[in-house]
Each structure stands twice: as structure tokens, then as C-alpha cells.
Amino acid sequence: MNAPLLHVGGVSYGYGAAIVLHPVSLHIAAGSRHAVIGPNGAGKSTLLNVIAGNLVPPAGDIRLGQRPVTRLREGARARLGIGRTFQHPAVVEQLTAAENIALAIRHRRMRRPKVQAALEQVGLGRHAGTPAGQLPYGQRRLLELAVVFAAQPQLLLLDEPSAGLDPSEITHVGTIIRQLPDTAAVIVVDHHLPLVFDLATTITVLAAGQHVFSGTADEVREHPVVQAVYLSPATPDTITANPADQEEPGGAATAGKPPRLRRTLTVTADTVAVQEPAVLQVDSLHAAYHGATVLDDITLSVDAGSVQAVLGRNGTGKSTLLNTIAGLHRPHRHTRIRVAGVELRPAQPADAGRHGIALVPQGRRLFASLTIREHLALAARRTRRQRQEARWTIDDVLDLLPALRDKLRRYPAQMSGGEQQMAAIARALLTGPRLLLLDEPTEGLAPQVVDQLTGTITRIAGTGVAVLLAEQNQRAALAVADRISVLDAARIAFSTTDINGPATHARLAGYLGVSTAGAAA
């Protein structure tokens, strides 16, 4: 037997303190079709970036054919025959479609007919002279695929090729990928499981940075552990396939201890203005991201003291929804966002902040050059108006999040992922919010820390703050939510307060789980 085309031996990766990929091994034969699936934060993109050379793993080795490439940079690996796509189509917007493809074809001979053939292959034959920046999002994705195919790589890495596409476009992309010559091996990372089952002969399942299972498509479909992982990722008793190395650095320090409040919080729910039932009222929200419509006519409201969880697959626009409400993303006109009855001006984050919206962004985004104490002081500085209705003091927040108390002098890079998340929440609370937006707070956290976090969120809501939570970790979301809403295909597919009803679970499985429905036989 020949050596595999790609050998990945025990590579791992961490961002700062959070380990996002525990040691993983993979063997990809020439010409094979392999998929990597798993919930958000499972480490799929990280694995892809480690193989492509964008990220240098601290441990493990990678060989392409017989050749070790672990120390090679991305460009050098590309020259050895690794091609890749990015989550947002990476095409040169200033160049025409034909010029983009011409860049991929190194040999001068027959370049022009080859360019035209590559464009025809993805159905862009008529757009050869169109600048890539003027193509709609779906066609830019097709163009990127054509560019990467034209380079004729031995190994092709596709990062979320279906993200941001509508169902017919996804089918089209699937057809194009299937038409690739057998000489090229393909690794595809995608959330759209029908596409994955359609394309891949072998599948690797990751969850919370751990390698759960690898097998054929049929084995994966029937594997009970995979089913369980997809429904409730990062749960210790379900990840039995690879129990090693679950501990998160520093996370252990805070784990196990339930947060005890040394004194009761100064404000309780009944002091919150009761005459204003809906803290957040969003009407007909439309938003696009990189030209793709991500949110289409979203209407939702969140009441004081309640937690609403927004669930949905990767790329369904959860973050865009939260960012739009926080003023970081400009919605289309006619979108109305009101906080306590006051309409917000679009894309004015400072304005949103002053009206009582606080965001805990995805990836925490703490300020690298500020200590934790400085983060808290900055958030707690108030204008005169805000001082009168001040809700949280630094002491309150430290009572709620005691893990931060002895970390005040540290910089974010010196803290574990869980502690960073606590700091991000503390920063948001100290602005005295009416509405707290939490974007994937459990991402990259150890299970114990997740449990602690859900307790914290419940307590925050108990003080009368409205909470809107975007979450991929379904188990965590269900544990805290008063209402869940599921985003699918840019719309709210369904919304219910019946959190634990069997009907709800069945529908959730349909939208989020390892659904075999729709997969090609």
C-alpha cells in the first residue's frame, strides 16, 4: 500500500489560553473525499488552517506524501499542491473573473482556453469580464472554487463552501465539487449535512476540539455517540470516544465551585420598571454580510428578566443579528430596533451602548493592552444620567464572578478562556445594561465552566436584565432559556417557550442535529 497523500499526526492548537483543537490524527488517501463535521467551536476550521499552514501547531506532524510539511509556511504548502477556499470567498475583487482564474494557471500554454473552461465549469462563462467585486455573493463563491480548481491541487481544502448560499446554490456547489477529477483529494468542512453526506465517503466528527469519531458516511450516520454529540456537544459523559485531555488550563481553578454570592445583589427584579414589558423590540430586521443576505425580516422581542436563546447552524446569522442590535453592523433600511421604546439609530454602537445595550462579543474581544481592572473601570465609568440608575457596581460583579477577584491585575492573554469569558461578561454588565447580548459565550470552554456560566446567566436575568443569547451549544442554551428561537435560511424558523417539550426537541433535531433527512443515499 502507498503512503497516504496527507498524514496528520497528533496536531493540536490553542488560541491564547483556550485549546481549540486537542491532538487529532488523520490519514487522507489520494483522490479521497473526506469531510470534517462538528458543532461550532469544534475546531474544524482550526484543523483546516493547520493543514493549510495558516496556523502553526505547537505539537504534531504533518506530511504531504512522504514529505514533512509541518514547518512549511502556507505559501510553500500551496506550491506543493494544497489548494484552499476561505469561509468568505477569497477572490480579488478588483480583477475580472477571468483574471482571477488566470492567476491560478501557472503555465502559459493554453491559458486562455483553460480560463474559459474553468469559468464554464462553474457556470460563469458569461461573466469572464465582470470584476469579481460586482458578482453576487453566490457567484463569488463559485468563482473562488473555479480559481482553486484551476490551480489543479492534489489536496483541496474547502472551508464551509455552503455558507451564505441558498438551497439551489448549495446543490450547484455540490454538483461542481462532485465533478472534480479523481486525482484530487478533497477535505470539506461544512455544516450543511446533506451536502456533506452527498460528497464525502469518509467523515471525521469533532466536538469541542476533540476527535470523536472517524468512519464512513454510513457509520457516522448511525453512530449513537455522534448523534449525541451533535445534540449536546461538550458533555463529558457523551464524549467517551476520546476521554483524554479534557481539562482546560485554568478552567479547573474555577470549575466545580458554584458561584456563591457573598451578599445579595443590590438590585432585584421588582425594581426594574414594570411599565415597559419588552426591553428589546426588533421589527423587520434585514441584514447582509459580504453581500450575502444573512437575515431576512426578523421580528423578535425580549422582556426584562427573561433569557431568549437564538439557535442555528454556523453561518445562519446569529452573530450578525446580535451585532446589528449592538450597532456594529448596518442593517438595511426599514429595520426598526427599539430599546425600552426608544428607537435606535442604525450602526451607532456608542448610541446603543448609551441606551442600555451591552454586548459580550464572540471570541470575547477583550482589549489586549488593558488589565482586567482597567476593563472593569472603563465599563463602569458613567455619565450623570447613567449614574442615577446605576445597577451594577464592580463589587456586585465580582460577587457574581468571583473567579475574577484575584485576576484583576492580569492582562487577557494571561487568562484562561473561561476567565476571559467572565471578564467579557463583567465588562458588559458594568455598563449597566437593560439588555445583555451574549454571542457564543460557551465557545471553547470546558464542560464544567459551561455549567458555571449557565448559572451566571440565570442570575443575571434574575436581576431584571433582558438577555439575548446566540448559542451553538444547544444543551447550554436549553438550560438557561425562557424562550428559544431557531434561525434557519436567514429567517426565524420557529420560536417557542416550551423548552423541554418533546415536540420542540424533535424540531430542534431537524434544524440542528445530525439529520439524515435529505441526504443522498
Binding site: L328, P349, R365, S369, E374, T383
Partner: protein
């Protein structure tokens, strides 16, 4: 022997004053670069404007100096806000830089109209003129006072940046502008504040430094180049100490070099730049990714 070491001391004092002057200008440039991500080619022209104000108000008294400083700060406020407004509609680095070049043109034109294109000498205030004798050698009092004032500015800047809410807000805005905005920090206001304070530092340095490096054609380009070298050598991040060290090195090399080996001065500066960039393996990318 004694006279040689005294000469070295006097020259060193001059170098120190010159280095601190560059530090104040460079801190202003760094502030604008860090917050606005704009190459302000008019930064040297701001210094030139400051020296000209010092010339205009100089009447040999401290009052004249104070008046010049007040006028300079007022001009910097107006100019900074104006520049922020001018840069707002433009997206590209090149367009923004060209607009700052336009401001250079206006300052240079005004200066040439007023001075007739020649160098002007700015007298020192009478109280600060003269020399302080120590160990048989005279040290210019103005240099000593200037060093004290510039050192005070450095300390105040460090304290503001690391101890005050304004400094925390500024660092947050440099690190992650959108998230800083969600905390209620208006990006527009921080930009205006940064460009105003940055310009005020250059103009203020011009007013105070006029007797050291006075109004002359081309002084704007010299100051711009030297302060850029300081910023690049000072490295990334909001590190006042690194910026101060870089400024003192550049000031010493340029000033002492000009006295000791006039022919070598610019080479030695060039060699310092190369040496630092080679030694620091991360090189320019970290140096300028402020």
C-alpha cells in the same frame, strides 16, 4: 582633559534636549498613527507652525512664551478638528496622505510669505537666557529648562495613559475600536481628540523648541523624518518608555554626531535604523503595527 569632558557634557546636554524635543513630536505622531491609522505628512508642518508662533510672540519675556504656547494650543485645536473633518470622507491611505500634503503646502506658503524664505532666529526669554556655570563650564539654561519641561511632559503622558480614564479609553480604542464603541466611547470623538492632542504636541514642541530648532525652510521635513524614525524604532504598542529611549538615541546620534563628526551624522542615524531593524528580528512589521 577637563575641558574635553566638559565639552562632551555640554554636547550631551544638547543631545538630551534635542532627543526630548523629538520625543514630544514623535508621541504626537504616534498618537495620530495609532488611533487614526493615517500618515500625517503635515506633522512636521505643525512643528514649523509652532516655531513661527514662538517667533511672532517672542518679546524676551516668559509672558511672550506663554502667549505663544496658548496661541499654539488654540491653533492645534482648530487645526486638529479641521483635519479630522477633512479626513472623514476619504477611505484610502493615499488620498488621506495627499490631503495632509495639501496642509503642508499651505503652511509652507504662509511661512515663505512671512519670512521671505529665510531662517529666523527665535530669541530665548531673558530669564532663561544665559548659562549655568558648573565645574568651570557653562550650560545653557534654556536647554536645562527645556529638558525639565519635556521630561515632565513624558511623565504626564505616561501617567495619563496608564492611570487616567482617558488613557484607558484611548488604549481600548486603539486595541478594538468597535468594541470600545459599544462601551459608549464615541469613535468620532476619540479620533478628534487623538488628532487634536497629537497636533498640539507637535505645535507645543515647536513653540518651546524654537530656540533649539528654529523656524527655517525645510525644518518641517527634517522634524517629520526624525520623529518617524523615533516612532518606527520605538516599536509597536502604547509603550512610552520605548518611544522615549528611541527618541533619546536618535537625538543623541543626530546632535552629537553633527558636533563630533559632521560628515557622518546622517550615516550614523541610517546605521542605527538598520542595526535596530536587523537586530529586532520581528522587524518593521511589529514596529509599525501600532
Amino acid at each position: 582633559m577637563g575641558s574635553t569632558s566638559a565639552t562632551i557634557a555640554v554636547t550631551g546636554l544638547g543631545g538630551l534636549a534635542y532627543g526630548l524635543l523629538l520625543f514630544v513630536v514623535a508621541a504626537g505622531l504616534k498618537l495620530i498613527l495609532g488611533v487614526m491609522k493615517v500618515m500625517n505628512l503635515a506633522h512636521g508642518a505643525s512643528y514649523l507652525a509652532g516655531t513661527w508662533l514662538a517667533y511672532l510672540f517672542a518679546d524676551g519675556t516668559l509672558t511672550g512664551l506663554a502667549l505663544a504656547l496658548a496661541a499654539g494650543l488654540a491653533a492645534a485645536t482648530v487645526g486638529g478638528a479641521g483635519l479630522a473633518a477633512l479626513l472623514r470622507p476619504l477611505a484610502g491611505h493615499t488620498e488621506q496622505a495627499v490631503v495632509t500634503l495639501g496642509l503642508v503646502g499651505i503652511v509652507v506658503w504662509l511661512f515663505s510669505r512671512i519670512s521671505g524664505g529665510s531662517s529666523l532666529t527665535v530669541p530665548r526669554p531673558g530669564l532663561l537666557d544665559g548659562h549655568l556655570s558648573f565645574a568651570g563650564h557653562g550650560y545653557p539654561i534654556y536647554h536645562l529648562v527645556f529638558i525639565a519641561v519635556a521630561a515632565l511632559i513624558a511623565v504626564v503622558m505616561h501617567q495619563v495613559l496608564h492611570r487616567s480614564m482617558a488613557g484607558i479609553a484611548l488604549r481600548a480604542a486603539i486595541d478594538d475600536p468597535p468594541i470600545a464603541a459599544t462601551l459608549g466611547l464615541s469613535a468620532t470623538r476619540i479620533r478628534i481628540a487623538a488628532i487634536t492632542v497629537g497636533t498640539a504636541l507637535a505645535v507645543g514642541a515647536g513653540v518651546l523648541g524654537a530656540p533649539v530648532l528654529g523656524p527655517a525652510p525645510g525644518v518641517d521635513a527634517t522634524v517629520l523624518t526624525l520623529s518617524l524614525i523615533v516612532v518606527i524604532l520605538g516599536g509597536a504598542g502604547t509603550n512610552i518608555r520605548a518611544l522615549l529611549i528611541a527618541a533619546l538615541v536618535v537625538g543623541m546620534v543626530d546632535y552629537v554626531g553633527a558636533v563630533v563628526a559632521p560628515g557622518l551624522a546622517s550615516f550614523s542615524l541610517f546605521l542605527v535604523v538598520i542595526a535596530v531593524l536587523v537586530v529586532r528580528r520581528q522587524g518593521l512589521r511589529t514596529a509599525v503595527a501600532a
